[in-house]
Symmetry: C2
Subunit: 333 residues, 2 copies
């Protein structure tokens, strides 16, 4: 038994040494190690260790979110933007949030192919993250993957998200600038506006701007943007990504928005809010784990749950009792 | 000061007496009092009090969720179903979850008009609840409103939800049977199937079944339903709500699903899971409030947050430190 324990501890130590090697090499920008580190983020304990080690090197990268309905040409646009950023000698990290839904299964394969052109460039790191659910929410480790790429020295980190609704709202919480991509005549720009999704956008990109109805859609977007509350009115940028048109203008809009955030003080304010939000979500998660563990071990708590199930106790009284017990000094039964 | 405090306490006591009067009369089914009680649910303390008082009278009503895209005729269908249930001498509570989004603003007004026919029937109670967000999520007080109507003696409680995605998933957690309504040729049934939304359905209703493409859409739905995992295969019910056709069949499907749940033991299992889920969510909410309160008052916690903001501490270490302090016996600084 003692031998086994020593062996197991030795095994854990070896695993930790290996993790640390990946972290070290990841900090120097090694793509293979970065990919490994991002995979390790799935495990709570490893994630805690990785972020602790890498956090001091974060805060330098600019984080851009790109979202929009499927079929508006996001991947081609992103690929062209990456080429442009590389021509300015900026290094790029791209995180694609893949919904597990079969809807976009086909197009995702195509996306990978369109990104092929960057696969041999050491200044570009591309990684897909499975989304939390079929509905395209932001993966719980997206925030951490951004930190890892930031610490690795990437200048710009692009987070690509599909999905509708909640996914876009979540995106807002983790990036500096959100670009919302639409296409002429799809009508989805108006849908998004009505659903309040457009209000998360800092830049409105109208891609496929050689299609019919470009002018009308552009006017609609401009009218919508002019009605936005706040000092920043999102510019409407027309692009034809397949022809490489409008990319410098798109980049300029990102630079302008960054300037605006910096000058207005919003940049620091938002980053500080974001880091506090993140910490508070982690506190919630740790408290949840603590409660679940105690529920499994404390007879007193199990009795309360049984009484709720039996209808003897109402959920509110039960929740108050459980909370009081959890907040009391811990004692094993 | 003393005088003021006594006066304030007196005011609170009078308010509580009034709340208790509404609760008492609500338990006897008085519609005006029920409406007041549901409004009072918005306040956390009042909600705690109301659920504690009404919980012993709950558990008798059957809860039906009806969902589907806008424009498939949900309101007319529900209105006809209510008429049918009334003919069986069953009392009905209807909770409509209103997204605050302007998208359905127009149709909601129409819905209210279509429900007019039940407005003089004391056996029908109708109430709209604002949804949590613009994206049509389930209101945090929907669960409690169901409990209130249940305690008031309603036999069937219908929860109508629009919105897409998360809203439907949430609906699953609070009702016994979910009916998903679609219309021929809209193509949204296939979209919902692909997005995994259809899997939350126990009954598939194809309304407007006098339209073209009814047969094809019905076959698609039947094929989809036959592939569902689990012992229950959702029946596909065709209705023409405007002509009052298919309503008894829809009702029979609800009865069949209820029988299935009861016989398989799933009914009790799900209700007990639901009540535990609810309790655990309330525990999370109470712990969150506790953390926020301590953050405002405890110097020690404020210092940790400052260090995270300054980048001296990483969010994971900070979260662990905060959690440990919160779980320690409380002490005022």
């Amino acid at each position: 038994m003692l031998f086994f324990r020593a062996w197991a501890t030795g095994g854990r130590r070896a695993a930790l040494d290996m993790d640390n090697k990946f972290i070290e090499e990841g900090l120097r920008g090694n793509a293979y190690s970065l990919a490994r580190v991002i995979t390790l983020l799935e495990d709570w304990d490893k994630r805690t260790h990785i972020i602790k080690e890498m956090n001091p090197y974060t805060g330098k990268a600019y984080v851009l979110g790109i979202t929009g309905s499927p079929g508006v040409g996001k991947s081609t646009l992103i690929s062209r933007l990456i080429t442009y950023l590389r021509s300015l000698d900026l290094s790029v990290g791209l995180l694609c949030i893949d919904p597990t839904s079969p809807i976009s299964g086909g197009s995702l394969l195509g996306d990978r192919l369109r990104m092929e052109e960057h696969s041999l460039d050491p200044g570009v790191f591309i990684r897909s993250l499975a989304s939390r659910d079929q509905l395209g929410g932001v993966s719980p480790t997206t925030r951490e993957a951004i930190k890892v790429l930031d610490a690795s020295g990437k200048d710009i980190i692009i987070v690509e998200s599909v999905g509708a609704g909640q996914a876009q709202v979540d995106l807002r919480k983790i990036v500096d600038t959100v670009a919302l991509v639409s296409a002429p005549g799809l009508g989805d720009s108006i849908q998004m506006l009505k659903a309040g999704i457009m209000e998360i956008a800092d830049i409105l990109v109208l891609n496929m701007a050689d299609r019919e109805e470009t002018d009308r859609t552009k006017r609609e977007l401009e009218t919508a943007a002019s009605m936005f509350k706040g000092a920043w009115k999102p510019p409407v940028i027309t692009t034809i990504a397949t022809n490489n048109e409008g990319i410098p203008e798109f980049h300029q809009a990102i630079v302008d928005h960054r300037e605006y955030l910096l000058k207005s003080g919003l940049f620091d304010q938002r980053r500080s809010e974001r880091i506090i939000d993140h910490t508070m979500e982690l506190v919630q998660e740790l408290l949840k784990r603590e409660v679940n563990q105690r529920l499994a071990n404390q007879v007193e708590l199990r009795r309360i749950v049984k009484n709720v199930e039996a209808g003897i106790l109402d959920p509110y009284t039960a929740a108050r009792d459980i909370t009081e017990i959890v907040l009391r000094p811990h004692r094993e039964d």
